[in-house]
Amino acid sequence: MTQTPPKIRVDLQQVADLVPAGSRVLDVGCGDGALLAYLGAHKQVDGRGLELSMARVRAAVTQGLSVIQGNLEADLKDYPSGAFDYAILSQTLQATHRPKDVLEQLLRIGKRAIISFPNFAHWRIRLSIVLGGRMPVTPTLADAWYDTPNIHLCTILDFVDLCRHLNVRIERGYALDGRGLPHSFSPLAPYANFFSEQAVFVLTR
């Protein structure tokens, strides 16, 4: 039964705020469906989810959400073009094998894509490598190098470059702190790449 979900994680709230009421949304890597449940209850969103972990899929479907088990890199190609208003990928792009292809698929399926990712150029990470001489372990990148699922980490500047390369338009964006709260400055500001731990962008073709 769809009940009013409790508050959601701050970074998901940030993504939720970018979605207009009544949209059709595909949440890729939706986990147990916290964002979808929130969007369904508060924004009358027609939401679908794709999730790798069967246990999380069960948790989502048990809440009455429409979620299928699958691997985003294999399964996104099945969805028809323009089927959704928004395709959302939260904190997952850096864990995919082919982020560029994933980005293109998301922008094919969704009229817009909302992508959030950790910024590998944050000053704490730079310090860790330059002064500490070790792979960074931070609140946003909490796993040791041998445990991390993140294989394609990038910086805000890298991501913006890729968007330019793919002729993808950045409609909106927020620089976020470690908890996922927005900074006052734009992610495209020159110092954002140094001071923000994560970023979220609304993209379109």
Binding site: R48, G64, Q69
Partner: protein, 389 residues
């Protein structure tokens, strides 16, 4: 030798409702069948708007006695764990309908019933029926019951095939569809197993070319072997091993003969011989054939998603990890096809080592998943919420 007195009574006293439809049913083969009798059961009450009907579709050897005590076997109905007051298919909220399939042997028109043209049991003169024909007959029943749109069509195995056919054939009449442990087509391996079963029945001399009711015989051995072979496909190696291993049956040493030394042999023999008391051999031939013929992709230009273009139906596909008869990959193929037409679909695999039969057993994760889907869909349909226990 074909005198009336030799004819085994084609119907035992079967409880439940019957509906006889006089208008001919045009079958997929082109043949016409009239009249058509549907034996069915209902549980719960229809609401004033007629929007709370749940149609349950039974599997190959199932029947319309889904819940409560089966009037013939005295055992619980085959989905009693799911259907009843406060259960997943809550009869306090839903009007649950289940009909014996066309071609069946529990009261619906099938090969053991009397052919009105001859006054004798149909036998092999009964036309070959398909999953589509079963669904058309169910639709006629629902017309009679005054059900326009079904809230949810749900079923496992062959029942899942009917669910798929319902969603394909009558998308405007189905709000939600839950095909469980099923597929969009019968695989070559599944056809092969069915053929073994059919050959076992037909090889029994008592089958009499399908005229056993007229001749007063019964191909019990053939049907029992068919059931034994099929029963293996409903289990998993793990489940068989756990239950029986290589344990001996009522003896401490091998007998060096062909008696049922092993418990698993004894179990299968028991499964076979109890089955013949409740199932009609010709029905077994017809229903397995209907499953073999089912292929929603082939019917739609070889592309399954063509069967569901623009579908408004909400789907929930559920498979079981150890089911090798209708493996998870079949449900995944359906999920991909439904994604391709941007349908509203959930797809969940339940961890279970109990094989295909898991859909008939009380698997808590299966129950909670289906409950979530039903409650979510009921919420969107504007049906009352489940009373919280």
């Amino acid at each position: 030798m074909t005198t009336e007195s030799q004819v085994t009574a084609p119907t035992q006293a079967v409880a439940g409702f019957r509906l006889t439809i006089k208008a001919p049913l045009v079958l997929q083969s082109g043949a016409k069948l009239a009249p058509v009798t549907m034996a069915y059961q209902t549980y719960g009450q229809s609401n004033a708007e007629g929007t709370n009907c749940v149609l349950v579709c039974h599997a190959l050897t199932g029947d319309h006695f889904v819940a409560g005590t089966h009037p013939i076997t005295g055992r619980p109905g085959w989905w009693d764990a799911l259907v009843g007051p406060g259960r997943v298919l809550d009869t306090n909220r839903f009007f649950v309908v289940c009909a014996n399939v066309l071609g069946g042997c529990m009261g619906s028109t099938g090969p053991k019933e009397i052919n009105p043209e001859t006054g004798h049991p149909w036998g092999l003169k009964f036309p070959v029926i398909t999953i589509r024909d079963m669904v058309q007959a169910q639709a006629a029943l629902l017309d009679h019951l005054g059900v326009g749109q079904v809230f949810c069509v749900v079923g496992g195995s062959m029942g899942a095939m009917q669910v798929m056919e319902w969603a394909h054939r009558f998308p405007e009449r189905v709000f939600a569809a839950a095909p469980i442990a099923g597929s969009y087509r019968h695989s070559a391996q599944n056809i092969a197993f069915h053929e073994v079963g059919r050959q076992a029945i037909m090889a029994d001399l008592d089958w009499q070319h399908g005229d056993y009711l007229e001749k007063g015989t019964m191909p019990k051995r053939g049907l029992a072997v068919a059931r034994m072979a099929a029963h293996i496909t409903y289990l998993s190696e793990t489940a068989l091993h756990r239950k029986f291993g290589r344990k001996l049956q009522d003896r401490s040493a091998l007998t060096y003969g062909f008696d049922a030394d092993f418990q698993v042999e004894s179990y299968l023999r028991h499964q076979g011989y109890t089955f013949v008391d409740r199932f009609d051999p010709n029905s077994y031939l017809y229903i397995t054939r209907a499953m073999d013929y089912f292929d929603l992709a082939e019917e739609n230009g070889g592309v399954l998603s063509n069967a569901f273009v623009g579908t408004p139906v909400r789907f929930c596909l559920i498979s079981f990890s150890s089911d090798w008869l209708f493996p998870t990959s079949e449900s995944r193929t359906i999920a991909h096809a439904l994604n391709a037409v941007a349908a509203n679909v959930s797809f969940v695999e339940i961890e279970s080592d109990k094989g295909h039969d898991a859909f008939l057993l009380d698997e808590p994760e299966f129950r909670s998943t289906l409950q979530g889907f039903i409650d979510g869909a009921a919420n969107i349909r504007g049906l009352p919420r489940r009373a919280t226990p």
